[in-house]
C-alpha cells in the first residue's frame, strides 16, 4: 500500500514547483498557474491526512471541498484583474505594473 509519507512528499514537490513559478515568472497568467498548483498541493495533504486517520474521518474532505470552491472564485477574480491590468497597461508582465510607484 502507499504510505502517508509518499503523499506528503508529492505535495512538497508540488509546493516547490509552485513557489518557483511564483518567484520567477513574470507573466501574470503563469503566476496564477503557480497559485493554483500550490492550492492543489495543500488539498492533497488534507485528503491524505484525513484518509490515514484512525478511524478515517471525512472532515478533511469537507475542507478540500471549501478550498476548491474558494480557489475557483480566486481564479475568476484573478483573471478579471488580469484583463483589467491588460487594458490599463497593455501588458500582463507583472514587472511592468509600476503605475503606483512614486
Amino acid at each position: 500500500m502507499v504510505a502517508l509519507v509518499s503523499y506528503i512528499i508529492v505535495s512538497a514537490a508540488l509546493l516547490g514547483i509552485g513557489i518557483y513559478g511564483l518567484s520567477v515568472k513574470r507573466n501574470a497568467i503563469r503566476i496564477l498557474f503557480a497559485v493554483e498548483i500550490i492550492v492543489n498541493a495543500a488539498n492533497i495533504n488534507f485528503a491524505a491526512f484525513t484518509r490515514y486517520l484512525n478511524p478515517p474521518n471525512v472532515s478533511g474532505q469537507v475542507i478540500v471541498f471549501y478550498s476548491i470552491a474558494a480557489s475557483a472564485m480566486e481564479a475568476a477574480v484573478g483573471l478579471a484583474l488580469i484583463l483589467v491590468a491588460f487594458r490599463v497597461n497593455s501588458s500582463i508582465d507583472v514587472r511592468k505594473m509600476d503605475k503606483l510607484k512614486g
Binding site: 509519507v5 515568472k25 481564479a75
Partner: protein, 172 residues
C-alpha cells in the same frame, strides 16, 4: 467507496505522481501559454486520480468539474482575449538570473518539508487504516458540523462573481 483495482495501488500512485509533477512543471515552463494551460489541466486530472486513491471519489469529481471544467477553460479564454492584441506571449526576459535563485528557494523548501516528513516517516501510518470513507458521510458533516462556512462560502461566491463582472465590464 471501495474501488477494485486490477493493478497494485503503488504502480497507480507512481504513474499518477509522475504525470502530475511533469505536467505541473510543463505548465510553468511551456513556451506557449496555451500549452501551459492544457498541461495545468492534465496536472489537475492527475491530482483527481490521487483523490480516487485516497477514497475521495466525490473530491475527484469536483476537481475535474471545477478545475478542469471551469478554471482551465476560463484561463484559456483569458489567454485568447489577451493574446489577440499582444500577438505573442509576454517575453520572459531577465528570468535567467532569477531562475537560479527561485530554484534554490523552492528546492530548499520542498526538500526540507520532504526531509521532515521522511524523518517522521516511522511514526506515520504506512498503510491506510481499515474502514472506508463513503460519499454519503460527507453530506451530513457538511451541513451539521460546518454549516457556517458553507453559508459564508455561498456569500463569498456570489460576491466574487459580481466582483469579477464589475472588473471585467468595459466602461464607455
Amino acid at each position: 467507496m471501495e474501488i477494485a483495482l486490477a493493478v497494485p495501488p503503488d504502480a497507480v500512485f507512481i504513474v499518477l505522481t509522475t504525470i502530475t509533477l511533469l505536467a505541473a512543471i510543463l505548465a510553468l515552463q511551456a513556451k506557449e501559454l496555451i500549452y501551459g494551460a492544457i498541461a495545468l489541466g492534465i496536472s489537475f486530472i492527475g491530482i483527481a486520480g490521487l483523490f480516487i486513491l485516497l477514497d475521495a471519489p466525490y473530491l475527484a469529481m469536483l476537481q475535474i468539474a471545477i478545475y478542469v471544467g471551469a478554471v482551465v477553460v476560463l484561463i484559456l479564454f483569458t489567454i485568447m482575449l489577451v493574446r489577440r492584441e499582444v500577438g505573442e506571449e509576454v517575453v520572459e526576459r531577465g528570468e535567467r538570473g532569477e531562475g537560479a535563485a527561485g530554484l534554490w528557494i523552492a528546492g530548499l523548501l520542498a526538500v526540507s518539508i520532504a526531509g521532515l516528513a521522511a524523518l517522521a516517516g516511522p511514526n506515520l501510518a504506512s498503510t491506510p487504516p481499515a474502514g472506508v470513507l463513503s460519499v454519503s458521510e460527507l453530506g451530513p458533516v457538511l451541513v451539521t458540523d460546518y454549516p457556517v462556512p458553507l453559508v459564508i462560502l455561498a456569500l463569498l461566491l456570489s460576491a466574487a462573481l459580481l466582483g469579477a463582472l464589475m472588473l471585467a465590464k468595459v466602461e464607455r
